[in-house]
Amino acid sequence: MARERAFSRRRLVGGTAGGAAAVALGGGLGVSRLQEALAARTAPAVIQGTTKLTYWGGLIFSDAANEMLEAKINEWGKANNVETEVVMINQNETSQKVSAAVESGTMPDALDLGLDLLLLLSTTEQLVPLDELYEKIGGAQGGWFEAIAGATDPSLLGGARTGIPFGSTGNVLFRRIDVLEPAGFTEAPATWEELREQAEAAQAEPLFGLGLALSNVGDGNLQVSVLQSFGGRIADDAGKRVTIKSEETRAYLEWVSSAYEAGLFPPGATTWDGAGDNTAYLSGQAVFIANPGSVYLALLEDDPELAEQTGFSTLPAGPAGLVSPTQPNVRAISANSQNPDAAMALIDTLADPAFMEEYYKVAIYGPVLKNQLPFEIFKGPVHAGLADLVQNGTAPAEPDTYNAAYAEFNTNFLVPKMVQRVVVDGYDFDRAMDEAQQQGQAIYDKYP
């Protein structure tokens, strides 16, 4: 079996090297002709014997991007005589669907994943090692950005590269230029204190200053980065002992609770769902929001005027510096796949620069490979921010240590819950920190 795998990988490398040569030689060809040529490439024999290949794509806000991915996979299947089935999964539900699939033994051959799920599935040996493919793609396209390579480092993932990054994400600060400039603010806020100052000056209800989620959703975990930029830490360097109760966390709580008491957060921010900040900004209820970019797509389509009046910048820094994490979304192959070689060939094809250049135009992702940086799209406002983030942003969890306990800490939204304890329940800072400390340590204790 191992021999077969090695043989087929060589075939795969050979086949794709030919493809890379075609890309190099095809500089004068139009993109579509080049894609056709790539798709029509003769498949290795092992792929042609493949049974149906199932792919779970991560559904994003851009229909065009979703359709492009699906079409590309089907086109590859047709060219390689492989029956393909593409299922687009809402990324908010990937975790639940993957859990059910793992437990019932119905994992797809390949799938798109976020970093937390990649960590979990890798440490429980649910994914195929992809080190060779990772090296090949990186080598052919100028290398992976440091933040991307670090986030998928084998030391975090049970000893192997189990995911091929295809897009980076992180938060960009959106601001309403049309209300901030008349208030005298022409530059983006550099610190959280400046952000608060600008928000307070520009606020005119029903327009609220800070459209940041404080609820039990992924967006609420932006507060972890804010806390860390104030010098707070979730745990010690070893990633074992929770250290959330600190003077730095107190300073952060002072900042967020005083802004809340000043009425800078829109009503409902403590119970927003994942679309809360999007809705607030699009409906003119927020001066500032932090968002990976999906709002920008909606703005272009629904409110181009507001899009023009929107400025984009990196997240502000705190007293301890800038904490603006970037992390990759990856493609991975299930260990139970009956068609790992075909899945690898498909993932290799999906990393094709010509396809990715077109894909990035309609998807909100930053680059992952250095050769992608010159793509025209990364000169656009939000995409430039995402490109900047992947070069200058911080690694996932930094300054904390990224591990399974840290991931579970955030899945339980303990930092936004600590804030809710203060602003909703009226806890004093010590009591709120004590609870987060105790519950956080209980989580960390589960991971010896």
């Binding site: 609820s215 579970e408 909703v424 329940d425």
Partner: protein, 305 residues
């Protein structure tokens, strides 16, 4: 002769026994498929969930037997104790409100009103609407800015400012209960209406002749006559409400803080962490309370019979 007759009689008995046994066997065979389905679809998952709750199982790893560790961990979790309180509050208050509204409307719709058929159909609408649509509509109605409820309050001058219905501890749970009651009362109403239609009219006439007031007739005739239906509806609705997820998830996701955290949402958070043992423990923790409820209710129903 007697010697010959005896074996004949004995043979006849054996034939009758065989026939009876065959009948019994046939009966067992007839119920076997349903029993197997019940075992496979109800008993097995139920017992398996209980088993998992005593293990350290995570997605992709069967884990090991950890005894009561998951339950001890949950007991120390403030959200768990809050979920316990909230679930009980939600079930009791919702049931009481649904009982009052459902029974009141059923009594009204049992009277010979003009357009009664239309009213009966209209009452069913919240029940007929998909749950997620109903709760999304409620969420939109309760949106602080631009939501219908605040608009009405502002326009009528009852309240000038913005009320963050779902964002404050004092109003979040009442708001969720209101939506849950609105969605659930039609089931109560229709069940009671069906029961009321089976109460013999002679009983009311006899009570009237005896000089009983409307209130006494309600207490002494109506309530005893529909008591068993009330018990069944309370039992079913309590179980459904205790296990309801979409109302909370769509409207508050258990927040603000843990003001509306209930068991199913807590179990869902456990699933997000991929820790199946803990998630199962959350669900299993509710089972004893539900078993007590089922036992009490079924005893009461049996007493009625």
């Amino acid at each position: 002769m007697a010697v010959i007759a005896a074996p004949r009689e004995h043979a006849g008995d054996r034939r009758r026994m065989t026939f009876a046994r065959r009948q019994a066997l046939w009966g067992y065979l007839m119920v076997l498929p349903v029993s197997l389905i019940l075992l496979g679809l109800v008993a097995y998952p139920f017992c398996y969930a209980i088993f998992i709750s005593f293990t350290s199982r995570v997605v992709g790893d069967p884990g090991e037997w950890v005894g009561f560790a998951n339950f001890r961990y949950l007991w120390g979790w403030s959200s768990f104790t809050r979920a316990l309180q909230n679930t009980v509050t939600m079930v009791v208050v919702s049931d009481l409100l649904k009982l009052v509204i459902g029974l009141g409307l059923a009594l009204l719709l049992n009277e010979p009103l003009k357009g009664r058929g239309i009213f009966r159909a209209v009452v069913l609408l919240p029940w007929a609407m998909p749950g997620f649509v109903a709760f999304l509509v409620w969420k939109l109605l309760l949106t602080p800015i631009g939501g219908g409820v605040n608009l009405v309050l502002t326009e009528t001058g009852l309240h000038g400012g913005i009320i963050d219905w779902l964002g404050q501890r004092s109003t979040a749970m009442p708001a969720v209960i209101a939506a849950t009651v609105w969605r659930g009362f039609p089931f109560w109403c229709i069940s009671f209406l069906a029961a009321l239609q089976n109460v013999p009219g002679e009983l009311y006439e006899a009570a009237k002749i005896d000089g009983a007031s409307a209130w006494r007739r309600f207490l002494d005739v109506t309530l005893p006559a529909i008591r068993s239906v009330i018990l069944v509806v309370v039992l079913l609705s309590s179980i459904w409400t205790a296990n309801s997820f979409e109302n909370i998830w769509i409207m508050t996701q258990g927040g603000p803080s843990d003001a509306t955290m209930v068991f199913p949402v807590l179990a869902y958070f456990g699933m997000q962490s991929q820790r199946l043992g803990e998630a199962a423990a959350v669900s299993v923790a509710l089972v004893p309370a539900l078993l007590v409820l089922v036992f009490v209710m079924t005893t009461l129903i049996k007493d009625d019979d």
